[in-house]
Amino acid sequence: MIRTEELLLNVGPQHPSTHGVFRIVVKLDGEVITEATPVMGYLHRGTEKLAENLNFTQIIPYTDRMDYVSAMTNNYVLCHAVEKMMGLEIPERAEFMRLIVMEMQRVASHLVWWGTYLLDIGAISPFLYAFSDRERILGMFNELCGARLTYNYMRVGGVKWDAPEGWIEKVKTFVKDMHYRLDEYHNLVSGNEIFLSRIKGIGKYDAKTAIDYGLSGANLRCTGVQWDLRKAEPYSLYDRFEFDVPVGKNGDCFDRYELRMEEIVQSLRILEQALEQFPGDGETMGKVPRVIRPPAGEIYVRIESPRGEIGCHIVSKGKAEPYRLKFRRPSFVNLQILPKLLVGESMTNLVTILGGIDIVLGEVDC
């Protein structure tokens, strides 16, 4: 008789495949996971508490550090919320700049995901491809605002810096190149037999479950739910551009992979149109009072970040600091489904499923 017993295995918090400092304790029966308990908070900095003692302009750098792979969208959600509360008008050129950097950021974020996801699964070279292209975007951001990751670029009322000479042309060239690069990516990975057998049919769930768990972004759309806030509840200038919202149908890791690749194409499409329509001149800052004091009240504003619905709930008492500031972080909400997906899966699929959700720990822990 062979004696068997349950094995309690601790994964993380210091493990590259957890994309940060995420820890999960799994109970194993042989190689099959019977229970999974995520443990979070290793990167909790109390952003919401800190914000209560800062004025709104000072909070913007803190949003950079939440989802540090997609800092531009985080900047935007805070500024957008305050602007809406105050009823500010944003100059068109500023709004165009915002939209362009947000879509570039979406491409960059998906590239990071693509590279690291394949690294998780065991392919090393895609990571290098993805990061070299992402580097071009970061280089352009660097030129724009002097930072590669934590931009602190947007302000309530507009953007801090105008596009430097020749910058728009640079982005145009990048967008053109990126189409070819994407073809290359697909040639390199998308048809690979080993890759497909690792992700097809893994981590499956249906639309009802996805909605019940409040998933958003590609995690929701992979089940066939057409829900992209850029289309469903348009903000910024998104209603001016033509683009599609790709949806999957199986709700597995492969669909999520395909969706994110397709979303890059759609972002490039938006970028092409936005760069074409970019106003030749104009202000980059609207008329804003010297001290930003939103009127007393409450607002919940949401936008589509690369990871899903990022929301900002502000309670203001008419002071320069928010009375309460709460961020609805897509990574945090999306991650909830992980324990459910893992039960009954083989241990080898843990990293595949976790990577497929696309989390950023700075945002999970906030």
Binding site: H44, E48, G214, E298, Y300, H313, V333, L335
Partner: protein, 287 residues
Amino acid sequence: MSEENNREQGDAPVPDPKSEPVAEPQAELPAVEQPQAETPIANIPAAEQQQAEQPVAETPPPARRVETDEEKAARRKASLEAREAAKAAAAQAAGLAAQAGTEGRAVAKASGDSDGEGGGEEAPPREPSPNQPRLDRVAAILRELVSEDAVEEAYINEPNDHLPTLVVKNEFWLKSAELFRNHEELSCSYLRNVSGVDYETHMEVVYYPLNMDTRHCYCLKVRTSRDQPTVSSVTPIWETANWNEREIYDLLGIDFPGHPDLRRIMMPDDWVGHPLRKDYVPLDPEV
């Protein structure tokens, strides 16, 4: 006030004959701007006499009057425009209300939203919001199916895209939440966000349920005392509330009876206190 009004009214219909006689005294008098403002008074000679007396002695007061008149005119223009905008908005609201009952609800709401974002509807604050019928309907449903006094407050949050906001009484919260999830007219299957707020006098948990088909979103608030903050958990209704409620419990100390696994999620398990409370005292203020 009445004089100024008369002047304004007199100003508009007959501008030409007045400006001509004034042009001549202007050439004589060094004070150029003041006479123009005074001319609207009915009998011109009297006005001219006044001007002849005044300019040297009382230069500042007329100057001030000139300003106020201009401002008045500007204000009048602005108010006229606002009234026109109000009319347009009212017409739009009526259209929206008419549409609200039909299949085109989602479309109507979307257009209302985009208008609200543009700031176009902010001019007439007293106009009924396009979402007012929806708010009334929801409040009626809650009163009918949950309890007569389930709704403490119901209002429209105008800056937030006219979001229908309801404050639900704590003891009826679980039933109301179920209704929001399952009632065929509401069927908010998606819970966008859950926040907790410490108002120092009381605690509040704010929910944002959403119906993805009609794109109708609501804001539901549940109030609770600060000493023993308790709000029924909605995790059995919306699974997504699970970690959100854990986070609120962790950071604000609100208890959620009915939650399957209410533990701290951000702070270490042995942490003392709830950091997002307004009266929270850090263990070591230097940190």
